[in-house]
């Protein structure tokens, strides 16, 4: 048994790199998937709408931990050996796609109907209408909740600890097993997440206030 020291804080900070890496993968992959889901949900094709709705319902209606387990234990069944790192990445990308898809669907639908009709009247096709008229406006509405959702993504990566991926939470468990000083260990772990998440929360709150003020004008 040793006491909690500076090298443990260093270990946690190093593990934070993995949390950040995993969060970035989840966020970038989830943004691409989310855009596809949102466009499918708002499209005129009934099949696409139904598929996207089912996808969202499954991923929003089941625990992220189960999604993680299903990828982790399911991939070998399908013939792929995946590491905890890959399994966590896949599960988080799918999960983030569903949530961002739903947030962005709301933002796309919040663009006034007249704008869609005007774009159609100008003879713009679906691609041009979305790219030039709808999405730029939806983007402004979507920014605050999207930044806010990044906090959920970062917090979600903590579940990768359960399948043995060494990010911040797992690092905390490892140190706790060695030092048995849970109070300080999990306080430092919590503080590290806070340092990552709080600036994003703060930013999200600020841009939300600003856009609310703009709309009230």
């Amino acid at each position: 048994m040793r006491t909690f020291g500076i090298q443990d804080i260093w270990f946690i900070l190093q593990a934070a790199q993995w949390t950040i890496g995993l969060s970035l993968i989840a966020f970038v992959g989830g943004a691409i998937g989310g855009l596809v889901v949102a466009l499918a949900r708002t499209s005129e094709s009934l099949v696409a709408t139904r598929l996207a709705t089912t996808f969202i319902q499954i991923f929003q209606g089941t625990p992220l931990l189960m999604q993680l387990f299903l990828v982790f234990f399911g991939a070998p069944v399908l013939g792929f050996e995946v590491s905890a790192w890959v399994a966590a990445g896949i599960a988080l990308v799918l999960n983030t796609s569903a949530f961002l898809g739903e947030i962005w669907r709301g933002s796309i639908q919040a663009v006034p109907r007249g704008q869609w009709e005007a774009a159609e009247a100008l003879g713009l096709g679906y691609g041009a209408r979305m790219r030039l008229v709808v999405l730029p406006q939806a983007w402004k509405i979507a920014l605050p909740p999207t930044v806010g959702y990044m906090v959920q993504v970062i917090k979600g990566t903590s579940l990768a600890a359960i399948i043995g991926f060494t990010e911040i939470t797992r690092a905390g468990q490892i140190i706790n097993n060695a030092t048995f000083q849970p109070l300080i260990v999990f306080s430092v772990v919590g503080a590290t997440y806070f340092a990552l998440c709080w600036p994003l929360s703060f930013w999200a709150g600020r841009i939300e206030k600003r856009s609310a003020a703009l709309q009230a004008r």
Binding site: L64, L65, L70, L159, V185, F186
Partner: protein, 223 residues
């Protein structure tokens, strides 16, 4: 793919799964009720409490919202016993859930309170209602109507994130799955079944909440 699915072992354990499901539902319901009590108090403190209390509540909310539930759970289960607070996995899980929901619900309730026009509060005060009466009769009830959808999705989120309490073996649905896994080695099948149970619960509760919203909380209200 040369894998044969075998659901028989998993399905044979249905009494255990049922019990785990019940504990998950029970934990979520109890935590929501207690968390709402915390949240109503905090929302009051944040909107009309004394300055130091307001500040304290703000710190609580920011801390909970910006750290993962798993870490909060570890904190309650491992850290607090180290300073003499000993409790069972179930109690630790419940406490973590109450504290977590309390923070999120405070913000929801506060938004609900702020949705009440100032004029109504002033009218209540002009009618010489005491501040606590104004809060209870003029703010709380109509605000509940406004925040019900947000609260119900928060309940479902809590129920789903409660899967995490299995790491301290709190006997919930996911814990049952973990135990079954070590007995039968049918991980994939177990997690498919358990995921479907969670999905059913989520759909059931969201349907139920929508029904309540339509029946009891929708306008026009002529009762």
């Amino acid at each position: 793919m040369n894998y044969t699915f075998q659901f028989s072992d998993v399905l044979a354990a249905w009494p255990l799964l049922l019990k785990g499901t019940w504990i998950t539902v029970q934990l979520s319901l109890v935590a929501t009720v207690l968390g709402l009590v915390v949240a109503i108090f905090c929302a009051w403190a944040k909107t009309s409490g004394p300055k130091p209390l307001r500040w304290l509540v703000q710190v609580y909310i920011e801390l909970i919202r910006n750290t993962p539930f798993l870490v909060q759970l570890f904190f309650f289960f491992f850290a607090l016993p180290a300073i003499g607070l000993r409790w069972s996995p179930y109690t630790a899980a419940l406490t973590a859930m109450v504290v977590n929901l309390g923070a999120y619900a405070t913000e929801i309730i506060r938004a609900g309170i702020e949705s009440i026009p100032k004029g109504q509060i002033e009218a209540g005060l002009a009618l010489s209602l005491k501040p606590h009466q104004v809060f209870r009769l003029i703010i709380l009830k109509p605000a509940l109507r406004a925040i019900f959808p947000a609260l119900s999705s928060q309940f479902i989120l809590l129920m789903l994130s409660s899967a995490v309490v299995s790491v301290i073996s709190a006997d919930d649905l996911t814990s049952v799955a973990a135990n079954l896994q070590s007995q039968t080695f049918r991980s994939f099948e177990i997690y498919i079944v358990v995921t479907l149970i969670y999905l059913t619960l989520a759909l059931l509760f969201s349907g139920l909440f929508r029904l309540i919203q339509r029946r009891a909380l929708s306008y026009p209200d002529r009762r």
